[in-house]
């Protein structure tokens, strides 16, 4: 117990100050992303992550957000356990047929005002699964999407930059 604490204390704070993604952070920002929402969620954004048939590549990268290097919590962004608590749905995957209804219900369960951000190329338009008989193809086909963070998978830096851009903080 004390050894672990000692290691953590010796290492100090490892969070990186600036995040510079390689690619542009936000693909297409929908018209619904207005200043009102930015004002409301500017300092506090609670995210419910929905896996709509993803290969889990995006989830791995999203998991990186909570770690010491990217530390998404310092911006007031947190992942929560229920869409009822959420302001934002972060949806990954090409939306398989089986997950379409579940995604719709999750969207319905989220209290307004709310954001939907599609993460990864699959979420954008189905990615490599585009045209498959088993997918609906893109999150926007099921629920209204406000912003898309591209990448296959998007790196944590890209995700963080995308989230901040959606909130108008960058």
């Amino acid at each position: 117990m004390f050894r672990q604490l000692g290691i953590a204390l010796r290492a100090g704070i490892v969070t990186e100050a600036a995040v510079t993604p390689a690619s542009p952070a936000l693909d297409d920002v929908g018209p619904r992303l207005q200043t009102e929402i930015r004002r409301l969620f500017g300092r506090s954004l609670h995210i419910r992550q929905v896996d709509a048939g993803s290969c889990n590549g995006c989830e791995l990268e999203i998991g990186g957000l909570a770690g010491p290097h990217y530390d998404v919590e310092r911006f007031g962004i947190r992942f929560v356990a229920s869409p009822r608590h959420a302001d934002c749905l972060l949806v990954t995957g090409p939306v398989t047929l089986n997950m379409a209804e579940a995604l719709r219900r999750t969207w319905d369960a989220t209290p307004a005002p709310k954001l939907v951000i599609a993460a990864g190329d699959c979420g954008r338009d189905g990615g490599i699964f585009q045209g498959s008989y088993a997918v609906v193809g893109g999150v926007a086909a099921v629920v209204p999407v406000d912003a898309v963070i591209p990448g296959c998978p998007p790196s944590p830096a890209a995700l963080l930059a995308g989230l901040l851009a959606a909130l108008g903080r960058r």
Binding site: R84, E101, A102, R105, T106, D108, A109, A112
Partner: protein, 636 residues
């Protein structure tokens, strides 16, 4: 016709309550009809304690009778027994001599036996009535033996003579009488392990009768214990009180633990009655120990706390039983697993039951909290007794009482939450209907009683103290209080229920205002329960009553000793294809298995032995009689 009769019993109850109140406040009188009953005649005597219990009988029978107008729906059966039952209960506290007492006590028992047997088609009810008859008469036998011994040793059948006369008795004699009387009264009160009849008999009776049996009848056992332990036998040794204290703590804990896992709503309430009698016995036992130690003020305080819980329990337990009866009528079941969602179909019953559940879980600002608070404070005063072993007993009782409080919350969250909230789990619950106006009126009266008893401890406590003080044969030592606040032992503890209730109400009233100021949206959007995106919300998704109790079952497994049995019937071709699965996990009733079963086996073996001398020939029996006579003559 039956409605009129029940209205009349309600009026009678009102009269009894008035008479009782007058007596409680000090209006003493006595009646003797020497020719009516053999041996000593019929004798009634009113003193404050008798007045208190008569008031309890009368006041509880009013809402119960009003409720019965709707509940019995014109059925005439049981009416006579009900009237006799009420009469018996009203006479028991007033009885001034042994014959009067025993007759009233037996009337009460027989009438309630008939009422338990109300549904003669139901095998469970018949068995319950049988257990009840056996236990109540075993108790009566103990009482009879104790009272006759007192008669033999003091030469009087009049209770009032016993206090003075008992001072001349030697210690073993008094101990024998106390044990006999205590066993008899404790079996009526439902103290563990003499409680076995209670969870069987209370649910079988019609609900207004269950309310009276649980709310009042078992309290008459408590009254008997108080009279026997402190009035009839004078000041006893400390172990009498200690025995009551420990038995009370055990009853309270075991009662609430069995209630917390019970699946039948009325049985659950019956087990919870054992719990509450335990709390009353804790207070009464503490009072007896204080009395034995010569601390009269504290004795009065502890007894007043016990009496407070007595009247509180009468109010909320009667309310809960009436609520359970309304549910049984409205949804057609007593099984928690078949209920659910009743709050939408039966809003009035649900609200009344919620008040009862909050009160019995001793939550502020309702009445159960007041008496539990008083009992805690009474136990905490034990430091004034300079005997470490007695102090330790008090500490154990304190721990038991504290644990009981927490478990009662768990128990009644389950009872109310599973029965009334979320979605209905059965056809009956889906089509449940609200109770009629008479039943609602009965429950409403008791809701008012619960609130009133919570807000007025400063009025009630001194009166209860006065009744208790008379029991000890002392002038009343004063409990300090002003209009709002009760104080115990100077600044040791203070309680102000009106302030607590006021503060909570103020908080509740201010919050919506605060939300308005914060410009929070007021419109609510309705949507399905969040279920991780699954398609249907049905009652099958809900937590069941058995699942809800599962953590407690694990924690207290040493008490439940549940019998776990899994039966799997597989397809003959492969054991991986299961046709039918049955899982059984029922708590065992330890008192029955460890105490009563061996007792019954021994009894049966003894009876087998005795059969050897029973030939059935009249001549032989004449010889037995002759032999017995000879032996007696020789002995004399």
């Amino acid at each position: 016709m039956s409605a009129l009769a029940y209205a009349l019993t309600a009026l009678g109850g009102l009269g009894a309550a008035g008479l009782g109140l007058a007596g409680w406040l000090g209006h003493a009188w006595s009646v003797e009809l020497l020719w009516l009953v053999p041996l000593a005649g019929l004798a009634l005597r009113m003193d404050p304690l008798a007045g208190f219990f008569l008031f309890l009988v009368g006041a509880t029978s009013v809402p119960a009778s009003i409720y019965a107008i709707g509940y019995m729906r014109g059925a005439r059966r049981g009416l006579g027994a009900y009237a006799v039952f009420l009469l018996g209960m009203a006479v028991v506290p007033l009885a001034a001599n042994v014959p009067t007492f025993l007759i009233a006590w037996e009337l009460m028992a027989l009438a309630s036996y008939a009422l338990v047997l109300h549904d003669r088609e139901d095998a469970a009810a018949v068995r319950a009535a049988w257990i009840y008859a056996v236990m109540t008469h075993a108790g009566l036998a103990c009482l009879l033996a104790g009272m006759l011994l007192m008669f033999a040793w003091t030469g009087s059948l009049v209770f009032a003579d016993w206090r003075a006369a008992s001072a001349t008795l030697d210690a073993p004699a008094r101990n024998v009488v106390f044990v006999l009387l205590a066993l008899g009264f404790a079996s009526k009160a439902g103290m563990i392990p003499l409680h076995v009849w209670l969870p069987a008999a209370h649910p079988a009776a019609p609900s207004h009768v269950s309310a009276l049996m649980s709310g009042v009848m078992i309290k008459l056992g408590v009254m008997g214990l108080l009279r026997a332990g402190m009035e009839w036998l004078g000041v006893g040794p400390p172990w009498w009180g200690v025995a009551l204290l420990l038995a009370g703590a055990l009853s309270a804990l075991a009662g609430v633990l069995y209630a917390a896992v019970e699946g039948d709503l009325k049985r659950l309430l019956a087990f919870s009655s054992i719990d509450n009698v335990g709390i009353i016995l804790i207070a009464a036992g503490a009072g007896m120990v204080f009395h034995a130690a010569g601390l009269e003020t504290l004795a009065v305080f502890a007894l007043a706390a016990g009496l407070y819980h007595t009247v509180n329990h009468a109010a909320f337990k009667a309310l809960l039983f009436l609520g359970a009866g309304a549910v049984a009528r409205g949804a057609g079941t007593r099984d928690l697993e078949a209920m659910g969602g009743l709050i939408k179909r039966m809003p009035w019953t649900a609200a009344a039951f919620l008040v009862g559940a909050l009160a019995i879980a001793a939550l502020p600002p309702l009445n159960g909290f007041v008496s539990e608070w008083l009992t805690f404070q009474a136990l905490l005063q034990n430091g004034l007794i300079p005997r470490p072993e007695l102090n330790l007993v008090f500490v154990l009782a304190l721990a038991g009482l504290a644990l009981t409080g927490g478990l009662a919350v768990a128990c009644f969250v389950r009872a109310f939450g599973i029965a009334f909230l979320a979605l209905p789990r059965s056809e009956g619950a889906t089509n449940a209907h609200e109770a009629g106006p008479a039943m609602r009126a009965g429950m409403g009266l008791l809701v008012i009683a619960c609130v009133g008893l919570a807000l007025l401890p400063t009025v009630l406590l001194p009166r209860l103290g006065a009744a208790a003080a008379r029991l000890l044969g002392d002038p009343a030592p004063a409990l300090r209080h002003d209009l709002l606040t009760i104080a115990v032992s100077g600044d040791f503890a203070t309680l102000s229920m009106p302030v607590v209730a006021g503060a909570l109400t103020l908080g509740l009233a201010l919050l919506p205002l605060l939300l308005r100021l914060a410009r929070a949206p007021r419109a609510v959007r309705w949507s399905e329960t969040w279920g991780c995106g699954r398609l249907l919300q049905t009652a099958r998704m809900e937590y069941t009553a058995i699942a809800f109790a599962s953590p407690l079952r694990r924690i207290f497994d040493f008490l439940y000793r549940a019998e776990k049995r899994l039966e799997v019937e597989a397809h003959p071709e492969s054991r991986f294809f299961v046709r039918r699965m049955a899982y059984r996990n029922a708590p065992r009733a330890l008192a029955e298995e460890w105490l009563y079963a061996p007792l019954l086996i021994a009894l049966r073996a003894g009876a087998d032995r005795v059969r050897a001398i029973q030939s059935g020939s009249a001549n032989l029996y004449l010889i037995y009689v002759l032999a017995a006579l000879l032996v007696l003559l020789v002995l004399a």
